[in-house]
Every structure is written in C-alpha cells, then in structure tokens.
Symmetry: C2
Subunit: 426 residues, 2 copies
Amino acid sequence: MRLELVTVGTELLLGFTHDTNAADIAQALAAVGGIIDRRATVGDDHAQIHDAVSQALERTRFVVVTGGLGPTRDDVTKRAVAELFGAPLELDEAYLETLRERFARFGRGPMPPSNRSQAEVPRGATVLPNPRGTAPGLWLEGTPGVAVLLPGVPHEMRGLLAEQVVPRVRARIAEDGGAARVTLSRALRTSGIGESALADLLTEVEPRLPPITLAYLPQLAGVDLRLTAWRLPPAEAGLALERAAEALRAALGRHLYGEGDTALAAVVLDLLRARGYQLALAESCTGGLVGAAITSVPGASATFLGGIVSYADVSKVRDLGVDAALIERHGAVSQEVALAMADGAAKRFGVAAAAAVTGIAGPGGGTSEKPIGTVCLAARVGPLRRTVRRWLPGDRLFVRERSVQAVLDLVRRLLLEEADTEGGSG
Amino acid sequence: MRLELVTVGTELLLGFTHDTNAADIAQALAAVGGIIDRRATVGDDHAQIHDAVSQALERTRFVVVTGGLGPTRDDVTKRAVAELFGAPLELDEAYLETLRERFARFGRGPMPPSNRSQAEVPRGATVLPNPRGTAPGLWLEGTPGVAVLLPGVPHEMRGLLAEQVVPRVRARIAEDGGAARVTLSRALRTSGIGESALADLLTEVEPRLPPITLAYLPQLAGVDLRLTAWRLPPAEAGLALERAAEALRAALGRHLYGEGDTALAAVVLDLLRARGYQLALAESCTGGLVGAAITSVPGASATFLGGIVSYADVSKVRDLGVDAALIERHGAVSQEVALAMADGAAKRFGVAAAAAVTGIAGPGGGTSEKPIGTVCLAARVGPLRRTVRRWLPGDRLFVRERSVQAVLDLVRRLLLEEADTEGGSG
C-alpha cells in the first residue's frame, strides 16, 4: 500500500519547529507494510493544504495529514480536506458532549466557545477518539481515496497513531491481498571504535548482509550500525534482520555495547551490579556530565554513590587527595592526575570501582603539547587500574560529550576484563 | 520571491534521520525575503526526485534541493535535475583537479574512482565551491526556472547556504524590484513562570503587538516567547520586532532572563562574575546535571570551583557536613537538608555562593507526602539564603532537567536581589 504524508504548519515550514510527527508516522506505517512515497509540508493555509492533499491523493489515494486541527482560526486542515471529499462539516453532538465532560472533569471551567468547532466532523467521517487532547482524529474515505487527519501535538498524534491508525492500516493491507511487505530496522551500538576501523572490521561480513542494508551512524556515544530490511514479507524481514545482527555481533565482539536505544551508562550500571561493585566519580572538564549520564538511568542509586566535581585544582587536592606535586609536575590534564583522581574518589566513597576525567574542553586552555580536546581518563575496577589519554578534537560540547562516552566505555571494558580474569565467576 | 524546498533521502522520508537542513534553509531564505510555499521530501529515487522538483518548478520556478549529491550510486539528485533542465553532465576538469588536490592534501591516498562523478556538472550550471566536502553545490538556471542543489551533509550545506546561496538570493530579490518582504523572528526567554501565568501577565501587551505575532514555546528551562514579523519590508520588520520586544521586556521584568539562544547558566555565571562571587554546588537527584549546565559555558572555570554529587545520604553527611539527625527528622528530600547541603558546599569550597538540589526523580521513591517530582532547592548568595520546595511532575528526564532550571533560576533571582539590597553598587 503506497501512501503520502502531508504535515501542516507555518512554523514547521519555516523551520521554527522540527517535524517529529512525520518521522513517527513514517516508521510506524512502514513497519506494517505502508510504502511512503513522499512527504509534503505546507503552511496553515487553506489553498496550500487543499492542493498538497489533493495531489497526494491523486498519486497514491491514501494520505495521512497532521497539524491544523486545533480550535484557533489558524487551524484550517479539516475544512480544506472536507472540501476535497465534498463532505460538509456537521456538529457531532456526542463528541461535543465528550468535550464538555472533559473540560468539567479537569476543572478548567466551562468549555471555551472556540473548542466547539472541534466537534464539527465532515459528514461520513469516522471519529478517532483522542483521549489525550481535544481534537479528535478523523478518517475520511470517499471518491478521492482515504485521508487520515491527526492532530499536530506530538504525544496526542503518537497515541492516535498507535491505537487507531496502525491497526486500521494493517487490517486494510491484509484485506487488500495480505502479501504485506514491511520495512523494519534495528540498531547495534558500538563504542570505542571509529567509523573506518569499524568498516575494516566488517569487510568480510558486509557482503553476506543483503537483502539487509547496513548504515553507519556516528553518534556522540559511538557509531551505531543500522540494519534495515526493505519491503520484505514480515516473517522474512524479521529472520533476515536477526541473521544479519548475529553476523555483526560475532564480528564486533566487545565493541558492541547494546542494541536499540540502550544507553552506554545503563550497560555500565548493569555490569557493575552483576559484578557487585559500587561506583564513585571524579570529574573535572566534564563538570558533572558523567554523573548526569549515570544517574539518568532509573535505579542508579543502588550502585552509584556520588562524585566530586573538582573543577578547580585546589579541589583535586583537598577533596580527592591528589598530590599537589603531581599536578605541578605533570599538569592537571595528565594520566597521572586522572589516575590519582580515580583513586581519590574510590577512597573517599569507599568503593572498588571509580572513574575520573580531566581534560581541555576549550575554547581556551589549549597548548601545542596538550591541544584543546586532550582528555585523560582513568578507571579502577577491583584490582584493575587503567588510564588513557585521548585526543577528541571538536567544540566544547563535543569534547565533553565524547569524554563522557570514552570514560564510560573504559569502565565497561575493565568490567568485562575483570569478569574474564575471574573466569566469569564473580 | 516564492520558492519551494525538496529534500532527498530515503532515511529522511522514513524518519530515520531528522530534516535539519530544511529548517536551516527555510529560516535563512525567509530572512532575506524568500517566501517558502512548500517543502517536499522524497526517497533516493530518480523518478520521485524528478517529479517533485519538476512540480515545484512549475509552481514557483525556484527550488532548493538538498541531499543525494554524494559519490555512491544512491545519489541520484544531480542526474534527475539535470534531465529536467535538458543539461547533459560534463566533466569539469578544474573541479576534478580541486578534488584530487584535496585528497592529496589530507593524505587520504589517491581519490577513489567513485568521487570522479562529483566533478560531473550539468552543462551551463554554476559550481558553488564547497570547501567542507567533496560534493559542490550547483546553481542551474534555464527554461524551467532555477534549481539550487546542495549536499545533504548538514555542516557542508550550512556553509554553502550562508556563503553562496543567501547572497545570490538576496541579490536576485533586489534585482526583481527591490521591495523584499522578509520574515524575521526573535525569542525572549523566561524562567520561573508558567505559560498561563505569562499569558495573564501579557494580557495588556498582546493587543499592542500586531503586526508582530507572539508564540509561547514551553522549553525545559522555561517558556520562550517568539516574536515574528511576517513578510514585512526589512527596516519595518526590524523596527516592529524591536518595539514588540521592548513592550514584552517591560511587562516581564525579572521573569525575562535572556534573548535568542542565551542559556540560563550563562546568565547566572555573568551575574556571579559581575557581583564578584564564586560558586559551588551540592547535587543529589540531578547527579551532576547542574554542574554540567554551568560548565557548558566557556570560561566557567574562573567562577565555578566545583561540587559534590552526594547521591547517597552517607555522602551528604560525610562530604557536605549535613547533620545525620536532620536527614533522619526531615528526610533527605526536604528544604532543611537542601539548605544544609548548600551551606556545606559553600563551606567546603570556601565560597559565598552555593546551590543545592535534592529530590525524587522517579520512577521509584515517591510517597503520598512526597510524590515523584518533589524537589527541594536551596541557594546562598552572600547574606541571602533561600530554600523552596517545588513539585515538577513528569518523567525522570523532565524532573531532573526542570530541577536544574529551577535551581539556576533561584540563584539568578537571589543575585538580582542581592544587587538591589546593595543599591547595585556591588
């Protein structure tokens, strides 16, 4: 089933807001067999909406439209599309009652008159209930084809998409002959290895992947590998994806840290928990970002005790017990100081796992010997201690985010090594 | 000058990647007088690109196309558009030489044969130099109108847009009669006040804003107010925007913390610096996020000394000197403990400005008395000490990010008060 998307909103068209709805709709419908040919974005303008939807229907006879269903006068989508279907707007008394009840229930006072227009429905349209907002979804079916209208508020749109639209599209594809071809993808996440080194590592695997395609997606935390099955029968797509993922896993080894949207910090916390370690941190240039990443994972408090943000050198000495002479001799950004910071954090918090970061995030502070982006990392896991120096050139944001990833990856690899040395008995 | 955008890429169409290019192009061209009627997105498919560009040219005779200019076989934009203009591709020897030199200069070895296709240029097209990458921009002009082709890699696209495309579009609009009408916007940023309270505050100002429109944009750090001048002569747009901003500033008072993309943390650092204070932090539920926000500002190290991430209660006692009995009596999430944490951080780091956060970010840990989202904040600025309890319901990410904003805003307001009490003499 071919289809097109039309997203409505002058703010979208001008780039003031990003079109997350289009991405969500495309992925959800491709996953059940929709083939998305084109997406158009137009402003809150009757003629533009009318033209874009009409042209989409001429090409594919199925269009999903989002945005422009609110109660204000800018919201003209419903009228423009109803006109295309020759369907006059009629007041849906039942829906009006639902709206009034909702306003009463939330104690927001009587429903403003402007909301009344949201209960006006094109004759013959199916109302798709929207429990999260006041504008219902609408499913219009007629001579021009099918038009599905969804509100533009993202969480309302996603609810309607999952609960109302995807099941109907799936059923329609099944009715149309059943031989759905779906587009599915999954991501494998790597860390601690660059894009070209990854490509070298996968030289032998890549030719075995088709019909699955492989895309390299450099992220701050490392390179994600996206595998995609394009327009295959559902069972075949799932099987082919799993086979490809299996081949990649074998080739990637420890460079692979997770799949889907697994966060590196969550993987580190799981490993710490499994090995019975608690963690403390010492951060300089990252200023708290490593702790923020760790504590973004629910349940971190059982494993993460805390940290010292020793932004000033005096704090490295006073709060982490780093020898002032060490800083004098090697500089605050050195592997020696990083290791002493990790030791100090472990000691202060009384834990056997600790990590430290000290570096030059810029824009000032670089030297020819230690240019901006120079970062020294250290980690301790039980008996293992390690420090590395990395050069992560880029702007301040990039240096800091990459430093977080690098130090988390160092802890992860030490935890895996430590498990090896104990034969996995822990 | 009316125009349309076409963005090319199957990954874009399926929502695997977000279309930041479209937003950048729309804003840049609207700001010099382009009127963007529509944007279309199609996959890496010759026929789809051909159709979408051809239809856009029929409607507006000016189209900007991004994506699909790389060296791989997926990149078919150039051929599809060249066909529309009846312009055969010809090897541009000068550009081929530029490419070869670039590969040699970066020591990447000889240029791969696949890059040779990037030196093929539609006959008569103007090559727009792309110093950041290997695919040049192309400006085609002929019977169908004008098509501007830009690579899809965002930083390459942005460079070409600013250096090559915007100046040409501006010149063309001037040639076409000069009466450009531009769409410009600016943002005023508020913190510590909700959307409906803001709307109440602005009741008297709003009717005076037209022709400028006002949009409320709730962000994590507070509500941004976007003022937009739509299709006005440039001088008039600038003046009307400035008048509207002036009216808002007067009404907003201290709720306004900055304009454009100013960060709340940068404002706090500026105020600290101006008043001669250094800052220390004590964080519990935010796990380092406040420090991360502060140190995301270049030059923070002169003012921010460091912090304690006391995620475990034992660290609040040991590292911040919080009385264990206080935690016992009021709970770790209490205004009393927040204030003691701020005091402890100030003392440990020997500074007169400090802030602390303790709260329940969820998903576990909530009680009926202190539900998830309960956050206690404290700040000290010289002689002033203050603590507040807030309820910021939402998911973990939201609670934490809103807590960061709330504590930074508390410090900001205390700094302004402190300046008042000293008559601004500092």
